[in-house]
């Protein structure tokens, strides 16, 4: 998604390359091409392209990726501000 860029330096995405098994799963599931296989390890090549959807974290077999996943939606965030952080999944958003 090169034509759309959002705020830079905000993504909570982190990767521990030491434990990466090199399966390439994160490069498959990421909808924004954030990861790339460099040699036998995956590497974050576009951290600011990350939208924190959490697909990589959920599908990494070695737990080498971490992110605070969530819904990038103003209405949802306002609800969490008002009602506290733990909202049921059925919260009326997007």
């Amino acid at each position: 998604m090169k034509d759309y860029r959002y705020l830079t330096g905000v993504s909570t995405l982190l990767m521990t390359q030491a434990s990466c098994a090199g399966c390439g799963m994160c490069t498959l599931v990421c909808p924004h091409g954030v990861f790339k296989m460099v040699g036998k390890k995956s590497q974050i090549i576009d951290k600011d392209g990350c939208m924190e959807c959490g697909a990589c974290v959920l599908n990494c077999p070695t737990g080498s990726v971490a992110v605070t996943p969530g819904v990038g939606c103003a209405a949802y965030i306002i609800q969490t501000w008002i009602k506290g952080k733990k909202l049921p999944v059925s919260a009326n958003c997007c």
């Binding site: 705020l7 909808p31 697909a55 605070t68 819904v71």
Partner: protein
């Protein structure tokens, strides 16, 4: 394992063999001999050459005989074009084109008014005539997801496993943990999918990866998850290409048409607060030296309402439409620019009617509305991160609030000064 899967065309045989007591006449036969047969209009109604001779012929011809798939209390959905007989029972075969009622349903779903009612029954469906070696596609049970995938399977013979995502689309359901490994496994078991297949592979849409853990599915039931392309239009090329996706099939896009189709839902989000806003505007506009003036309510109120709706239009229509071309990355600033574009001409139009303070009030409130609604569009885009949206909101909401408060003060004060 060899599995015999018969086509739905044999329905009539099944009908006569299994579902009726011996000696019972199948309605199809009686319809052929009966009066006013539908398929031979040249036969005169008064010919009387029927089983029930002597009975007066009246009314329209009888409708087609009921099939064994019609069950008391159930209706066969319009998108079902037939049934396949499989080891786990009859599996509905989906139509791969949309009819008028599908299109009307799409309009309803897109308008946002009835979108929560657009659920498809979860379970196993077929497209074409799949067999034990055919691929299995997995999707959400939101009408638009289901319609999108089934209409892209015109040349395919595949199984379609529809997950109970409570009527929510693939990506959002993944984000809400409704499209999850647990649900996928539950449905595999419920449908008896393993008994139909000679393989153990599922093709899931890539955008379900934020809810489904491929390892969990494999551990729980032995099925391997293959991440399919993001867009349904790529599914047939993906299958032809031995389940390999080209790099561009793995990246989300957000073109102008995608953005425009989201506008009705954005407007739907705005209409309830709008009613409240209109009421408030009329109340505020009436306040003046005479305590409350109905004349002012209408004459001044109409200006503020015009500014409000300009803000709604620039925030919820213009901003999504022009998103990539509006400057700044924060949506609230994009909305501000779009708002200026709409409000400056409006204020020019009211230049003789509105006093100085009123002009500021119109501008402040209109811009705040536009900026807020633009910010709300973040939830509909496929590229804004929650951390980013939260950061933007913390900066923007206080300013939007101050603009509204200042606007109200100026607006009410203008009545006393003016």
């Amino acid at each position: 394992m060899s599995v015999k899967i018969t086509d739905g065309k044999k329905d009539a045989d099944l009908y006569s063999n299994h579902c009726r007591p011996e000696g019972f006449t199948i309605p199809e036969t009686s319809a052929k001999n009966g009066c006013c047969p539908q398929d031979s209009p040249q036969v005169s109604c008064s010919s009387g050459n029927t089983a029930e001779q002597g009975e007066p012929c009246c009314g329209p011809p009888p409708s087609a005989p009921s099939s064994i798939h019609e069950k008391p209390g159930y209706a066969i959905c319009r998108y079902v074009s037939g049934f396949l007989n499989t080891p786990v029972g009859f599996v509905p075969r989906v139509s791969t084109s949309l009819d008028l009622s599908d299109h009307i349903g799409t309009l309803y779903a897109r308008s946002g008014f009835f979108r929560n009612d657009y659920k498809v029954a979860p379970g196993l469906y077929a497209a074409g005539t799949p067999d034990q070696n055919s691929p299995v596609l997995v999707t959400a049970n939101y009408k638009l997801s289901f319609d999108t995938i089934r209409t892209r399977l015109k040349h395919s013979n595949v199984w379609l496993l529809v997950i109970d995502t409570r009527g929510i689309n693939v990506w959002c359901a993944g984000g809400k943990s409704l499209f999850s490994a647990k649900e996928v496994v539950r449905l595999i078991r419920q449908t008896g999918l393993s008994r139909i297949l000679s393989h153990r592979k599922l093709i899931l849409p890539q955008l379900a990866a934020n809810g489904v853990s491929a390892q969990s599915v494999r551990k729980a039931c032995g099925f391997e998850v293959i991440w399919g392309p993001i867009r349904a239009e790529d599914i047939e090329p993906f299958i032809e290409n031995n389940l390999k996706a080209a790099p561009k099939m793995r990246q989300v896009t957000f073109d102008t048409l995608d953005r425009l189709t989201l506008i009705p839902v954005e407007l739907n989000f705005a209409w309830k607060p709008s009613l409240l806003a209109i009421l408030t505007v009329f109340l505020l506009s009436g306040i003046g030296p005479d305590i409350f003036s109905l004349t002012d309510t209408v004459s001044r109120g109409s200006m503020l309402i015009a500014a409000f709706f300009t803000g709604v239009c620039t925030g919820a229509i213009l901003t999504p439409a022009l998103l990539p071309w509006l400057p700044f990355r924060m949506f609230s600033l994009k909305g501000l620019i779009a708002g200026l574009a709409g409000l400056i001409p409006l204020i020019f139009f009211f230049r003789e009617k509105a006093a100085g303070m009123e002009i500021f009030a119109l501008l402040f409130m209109g811009l705040a509305v536009s900026s807020y609604l633009a910010m709300n569009f973040t939830g509909s885009t496929p590229f804004t991160s929650p951390s980013g949206v939260e950061k933007e909101m913390k900066k923007s909401i206080p300013i939007q609030g101050i603009a509204i408060a200042a606007g109200i003060i100026f607006w009410v004060a203008a009545a006393f000064v003016g």
